[in-house]
Amino acid sequence: MLWLLIFFLAPFFIVLKISLSDMATSIPPYTPQLDTKLGLLSSIPAYFKALDFENFIWLIEDNLYWKSYLSSLKVATISTLFVLLIGYPMAYALARAPTRWRGVLVLLIILPFWTSFLIRIYSWIGILKTEGFLNYFLMWIGIIDTPLEILNTNIAVYIGIVYSYLPFMILPLYAALEKMDDSLIEAALDLGSTRVTAFWQVTFPLSMPGVIAGCFLVFIPAMGEFVIPDILGGSETLMIGKTLWSEFFNNRDWPVAAAVAVVLLLLLVIPIVLFQRQQEKEHEVVA
C-alpha cells in the first residue's frame, strides 16, 4: 500500500518539484526563449550578441566581467581559507568541550546564522568605518595614530565574508570532529607521535569530510556574494554578484545580466556537483 502511495505521489512530486525548483537550477536554457517573449532588444540575437560580447571581451582580457569573475574567485578562495583557519580551532574546541556545555555552545554558533544576514553586515559598518569602534579602540590602546581606512576596501569584504560564513564552516567540521574516536589519538600518542604530529596525521585527515563540506558551503555562495561587497566594499571591489546586480538593476541590461549568471553558473557547476555527491555519500553512510 505504501509503495502505491509513494509511486502515486512520486511522479506528482517530481512534476511539482520541477515546476518550482527547476526554475532555479535550469533557467539558463530558458533565457533565450525568454527574451523573445520579452521583446527585449529584439530577442535571441541580443542574447547571442551578449554572449559574443562576453566571449569577445573575455579574449581581450580587459573587461569588467572577466575581472569580476577573477576577483570573485580570489575573494572567495582567500576568505574560504580564512574561514577554515578560524573555524577549525573553534570546531575542534567545541568537539572537546564538556558534554553538558556542548549543546549551548553549538546553539551559540547557530544563533548568529539565524539573525538577519543584512543586519550582521550592517553592524560591521559602525566598527570598520574611519570614525568607527575599531579605530577608536586601536587609537586608544596606541597601536595607531591615524584612523585606518578599512571600510570600502577589500579587507572589509574579507572580514564580512569570514564573519557571515563562519557558522557554515564550523558546523560540518564539528560534526566530523565530534564523531571521532578519541582512542585513535591515544593510540598515536602511545606509538610515540607528538601531539602535533598526532593531530596532523590522525585528527586532520579524519576530519577531511567536514573540511571539504565546509569549504564548499563557504566558497560557492561567497563566489556570487552581492550584499557584502556592496555594503562593505568600495568602488575598487569587483565581485561578479555585484556586477550582475548593477547590470540588472542599474543598467537594465537583462541579457547581459543573464549571460553573466550563465557563466557564473557554469563556473560553479563543478563545485556544486562535487558538493552534492559528497552530501549523497554522507547520507548513504548514515543510512
Binding site: L2, L4, L5, F13, K17, M23, A24, Y136, L166, P221
Partner: protein, 266 residues
C-alpha cells in the same frame, strides 16, 4: 571526548571566536539606545529611535509584507519540503533520483543572485505581475529545499516498522502517516518551518529580484537605508529583529530538547 582535555588553547579559541561572532551584534544593540544621532558616538540612553521607528509607516508596511510572505511561504514550503523528503528517503532508486536530489541540494549553495535572476526571468516569461505572490513563490522554492534536507535527516533514522504495524492494525497509509509518522517527525518539521520562516524574512537578494511595485519587504527597506550609511532607526529595528529571532530560536531549541528527552524516556 573527555572533558579534562579541554585545554587553554581550546578555551581561548572558542572565546575569541565568540567575541568575533557576538561583539558586532552587541555593539549594534547597545548603540540602538544611543540618544545621539551620530551612531558611533555615545550620547546617553534613549529609546527615541524605537518610538520614531514605530511611527514610520513605510517601515511598518514593509514589516507587514515581510511577515505575510514569511508565514505563507514557510507553511507551503514545509508541506512540499516534507513530502519531498519522504520521497527522497523512501522511494529507493527511481528514475531521475540524481536529478531530484540535485535539485534539492543545489539551491542550498546556489548564489542568491542566480536564483533571484532566474526566477524573475521565469515570472516575466509567464507574464505574471510581480509583487507579493512572486516573492512568496520564490521563497517557497528555495526554502523548500532547506526543509527537505532538515526533515529527511530525521526520516533516515525513523523506524519504518512502526508505520507497518499501524497498517497491519488496519490503518490506511494516509492515516498511518498522519497518526504515526507525522507526530514522530513533528519536532523536525517544526524546526524546518522555523528555518524556512527566518530564511524568508531575512532574504534581500531574491526578494529584490522578484518583487514588483508596492511589495517592499523589510530587508529591502533596510538595504535602501543602509546604503546611505549608518542610521539609528535601523539599529533599533535590527535590535528588535535580533531579539525576536533569538527568543524564537532558544524557545525552539528548548522544545526540541524536551521532545528528545521524552522520546528517550519512551
Amino acid at each position: 571526548m573527555n572533558s579534562h582535555r579541554f585545554s587553554w588553547f581550546n578555551a581561548t579559541s572558542l572565546t575569541l571566536g565568540f567575541v568575533f561572532l557576538y561583539l558586532p551584534i552587541l555593539l549594534l544593540i547597545i548603540f540602538s539606545f544611543n540618544s545621539s544621532k551620530l551612531v558611533t558616538v555615545w550620547g546617553g540612553f534613549s529609546t527615541k529611535w524605537y518610538v520614531s521607528l514605530f511611527q514610520n509607516e513605510s517601515f511598518m508596511n514593509a514589516a507587514f509584507v515581510t511577515l505575510k510572505v514569511g508565514l505563507v511561504s514557510a507553511t507551503i514550503a514545509t508541506v512540499l519540503g516534507t513530502l519531498a523528503a519522504l520521497v527522497m528517503t523512501r522511494a529507493g532508486k527511481f528514475r531521475g533520483r540524481t536529478l531530484f536530489s540535485g535539485m534539492i541540494y543545489s539551491p542550498l549553495v546556489m548564489p542568491e543572485v542566480i536564483t533571484g535572476l532566474s526566477l524573475l526571468l521565469l515570472f516575466v516569461a509567464l507574464g505574471w505581475d510581480r509583487g507579493f505572490w512572486t516573492i512568496t513563490l520564490a521563497h517557497i522554492t528555495f526554502s523548500m529545499c532547506f526543509v527537505a534536507v532538515v526533515v529527511s535527516s530525521r526520516l533516515i533514522t525513523f523506524d519504518r516498522s512502526l508505520e507497518e504495524a499501524a497498517k497491519d492494525l488496519g490503518c490506511t497509509p494516509i492515516n498511518a502517516f498522519l497518526q504515526v509518522t507525522l507526530p514522530i517527525i513533528l519536532p523536525s518539521v517544526v524546526a524546518a518551518w522555523l528555518l524556512a520562516f527566518t530564511l524568508s524574512i531575512d532574504d534581500l537578494v531574491i526578494a529584490s529580484f522578484t518583487s514588483g511595485p508596492g511589495a517592499t519587504t523589510l530587508p529591502m527597506k533596510i538595504y535602501s537605508q543602509v546604503r546611505l550609511g549608518l542610521n539609528p532607526e535601523i539599529n533599533a529595528l535590527s535590535t528588535l529583529m535580533i531579539i525576536a529571532v533569538s527568543v524564537g530560536v532558544i524557545v525552539a531549541s528548548i522544545l526540541a530538547k524536551r521532545a528528545e528527552a521524552k522520546q528517550g524516556l519512551d
